[in-house]
Subunit: 370 residues, 2 copies
């Protein structure tokens, strides 16, 4: 044996993979910045003026660790949502919270259920803790909660991942359908309901269930509607016993102090959020029009992006994607067939979409090899 660390078998078995390649890597690779950053479902409309001012003010206090209990943010969220602080866990984005949640529930060999083609970072965490992932196909272009629950029953899953609205397809289901589907949820299975895009969804998309309901945890974020992806503030809403369990394992001093102050301030500007939602709606309308102008089919979306059916297979959509990227338009696409016939375009500023309108026909021409 030579000097060096000894990794447990599980760790040794894991690939050094990255759930997503960031646009900065691609920019360095192509030697130029992107013209339009429309690939990560970030909000180009940014944080609210109040949130921005709060982050800048709190930067002067950055020498202090953040309150490890997240007291002020939980209080603000509880007041806004009509729950108690005991229903809330704050964490380093939904990504961080998903990691904690998987760690809390999944021992090596434990079964977990998700949709084939759903959020890869969840799968990354499940693999990282040795869980056995069972995947259910999308029904059309939507995650299929009854099928996920049926699979969980079959494999005795500890955890189900379900995003509503869905990423990468933009589809959604009514909260009442979730409530109905949960009647079949096996005891001992928790539903992780990823509501990252809930601010863009129609009223009634979140299930009308008590925050104390022990069957699910809702995961939300300041990364999308609130325009603070780089701040890393997410939260989970669930029964107090589950919420307390996070305290067993989380990085108690893991939150950025200025980010938390920004999140608190963000919650007090409903008009800004409503304006963002309107601007996103307008941008989605424009993206859909651009798609149609080029003979493509935009899918309905309850998120801040539009998934566009390119009408052929995954190889063709990938060629379109690559041709957009080579023109400086950062976009992404679903990973799994048949959803990989699509590309996914985040809401952008008018100038971003102007660039898209110019680039898309060229990209299609390139992809068609004509």
């Amino acid at each position: 044996m030579t000097h060096g660390p000894r990794y447990p078998a599980l760790i040794a078995s894991l690939p050094e993979t990255v759930p997503f390649v960031g646009p900065e890597v691609q920019e360095r690779s192509r030697g130029a910045p992107f013209v339009a950053r429309l690939g990560a479902n970030e909000s180009v409309f940014g944080p609210s003026p109040g949130a921005l001012a709060a982050m800048r003010a709190e930067a002067a206090e950055i020498w202090k660790y953040a309150d490890p209990t997240g007291h002020d943010l939980k209080a603000a969220l509880a007041a806004k949502l009509g729950c108690t602080p005991e229903n809330i866990v704050v964490g380093e984005g939904i990504d961080g919270l998903l990691g904690y949640l998987v760690r809390l529930l999944v021992a090596p060999g434990d079964a977990v259920v998700t949709s084939d083609g759903a959020y890869p970072t969840f799968n990354y965490h499940v693999a990282g803790y040795g869980g056995v992932l069972h995947k259910v196909p999308y029904a059309g272009d939507a995650e299929d909660l009854p099928a996920l629950i049926a699979k969980a029953t079959q494999v005795d899953a500890k955890l189900i991942y379900f995003a509503n609205p869905d990423n990468p397809m933009g589809s959604w289901c009514d909260g009442a359908a979730i409530v109905a589907a949960l009647d079949a949820l096996p005891q001992g299975t928790l539903l992780a309901l990823d509501e990252a895009y809930i601010e863009f969804a129609p009223t009634g998309t979140t299930p009308d269930l008590a925050f104390d309901d022990p069957r699910l945890i809702r995961l939300r974020t300041f990364s999308k509607g609130y325009g603070m992806a780089g701040a890393r503030v997410g939260y989970g809403l669930g029964a107090p016993a589950l919420i307390r369990a996070f305290d067993k394992i989380r990085n108690h001093f893991g939150m950025n102090r200025a980010a938390v102050a920004g999140a608190v301030a963000a919650l007090s500007d409903d008009a800004f959020l409503a304006d963002v939602v309107q601007r996103v709606t307008d941008a989605k309308t424009r993206i859909a029009a651009i798609a149609r102008d080029n003979g493509l089919t935009p899918l309905p979306s309850a998120t801040n992006f539009v998934t566009i059916d390119c009408g052929r297979d995954g190889a063709f959509a990938k060629a379109v994607l690559n041709a957009l990227i080579s023109q400086g338009i950062f976009v992404r696409m679903p990973f799994v067939a048949p959803q990989d016939r699509c590309i996914r375009i985040s809401a952008g500023l008018p100038a971003d979409l102007d660039a898209l309108a110019v680039a898309l026909p060229k990209a299609l021409k390139t992809a068609r090899g004509t």
Copy 2:
């Protein structure tokens, strides 16, 4: 069975403990803010003007996720330290990196070695991953690296935790002593060398070993000398194979974008850092004088705090601590005997230390019950 999550046995066995209670909790409990915040070894001297400006500027870009590779910060660190980016992992403070490191190496039942009374957050992570912690006593008021290595050999430990300079005692050893001690390090044991306070230590405190040395990982932070505790930026320095392993498990999109920009900027102002170190030196001189004026014994310190021997047992030191806290002076103390005869006071502004000078004699009077 009723509805609810099923926790693995390890998780079920963990307490809902917090490694440290934050000052905000104490402030809410006492109904008033602290007069002087001298308990968490934060840097009241704050971030450099350049770092502050960078964080404020980058707040406008907070709608973007941070580069998951940490390219720019790694490049800046590599240039400053004379290593390559492949020697560097960036994470959510040393706390976050310790969590990743323990997860990388420690399977349930694996042996880990630390000093009895050393950093509790490390112990928290070891317990959280089911490691078996073996504790070695301090030698005097210093961590005892040869004894830690001997214990690791005896118990076949995968990981040793050693802080140099030490927290909570402020003691330190020469880097050459670390190099010499490592001759006895068993193969398959990694030394986690916590250098959180290295900016305050004498030249030569870090071991003169290649960053590629597979026997150790150095953990450093922007929380102490750089005055950015609330930003949550730490980094590890080690052999590329170990550094790459973090990519298997870390939260790739876990860093705050403004914090990273601030850290990059902080590295370019050596004069500011030197000034902070001087101000910390001055503050430590003053704290030591205040201690001596009250008949107490300040211990030598290579950190940004002074540990003060209160001359009696832990109960007495705790009474002094409580009496300081009740006067609005936030301080902490070692957890374990005989080091718990001390209280630990972080460097402060002159006004903070004025308040300490007033409060300490009263606290001693209270503690002595006279």
